[in-house]
Amino acid sequence: EAEVAQSPRYKITEKSQAVAFWCDPISGHATLYWYRQILGQGPELLVQFQDESVVDDSQLPKDRFSAERLKGVDSTLKIQPAELGDSAMYLCASSLWTSGSSNEQFFGPGTRLTVL
């Protein structure tokens, strides 16, 4: 069964350092999402791509976060510099949504970030 891949699974970094997360969606899924989930809360959408284009990054803290999906396949989310409040699970998801159909999003295992 096809799955969304993410790496690393865990990342510990110090405040002010740069970190990067990688996501490989399910083959053929044009839509890719990055979420942040703080412990005890639901996932919060950070950025959504349709192929290589950003369609929604309204919740992305653009002063320190950046995301790219250069070839419309895999994607990288970067934080620079990391802050203590960035400690969370970062989830990637992909979907094959078309109008009028079920938008089942497939989530990866996530990257647990701890900022010290």
């Binding site: 969304v4 839509t31 979420y35 005890g40 809360q41 639901g42 996932p43 919060e44 959408l45 959504q48 369609v55 929604d56 699970m89 989830l91 998801a93 979907s95 949504w97 109008s99 009028g100 159909s101 079920s102 938008n103 089942e104 999003q105 497939f106 989530f107 990866g108 295992p109 996530g110 647990r112």
Partner: protein
Amino acid sequence: LAKTTQPISMDSYEGQEVNITCSHNNIATNDYITWYQQFPSQGPRFIIQGYKTKVTNEVASLFIPADRKSSTLSLPRVSLSDTAVYYCLVGDMITGGGNKLTFGTGTQLKVEL
């Protein structure tokens, strides 16, 4: 996006049927109702989606009344492995708003022996 309200937590015992109700008073005409399940340290997993009346799949049923202002996820004969957080979401599946999902805090279901 329609706001949803669901109980923070629920407790049940193995073998019982569990019904989790979600309120979405401001649901729009194009909005569909979707439920996800999430285990600790894993990403959410799609359970079921519906627009009106009743939808059933191999793991759950979704009941939606005529006014669509609420919905109920029904899990038959739960087991310990159903202990998880369940999220109710609404989104536009016709024009694209549902492409973006807004998760609330979900319902923590705890199943005991």
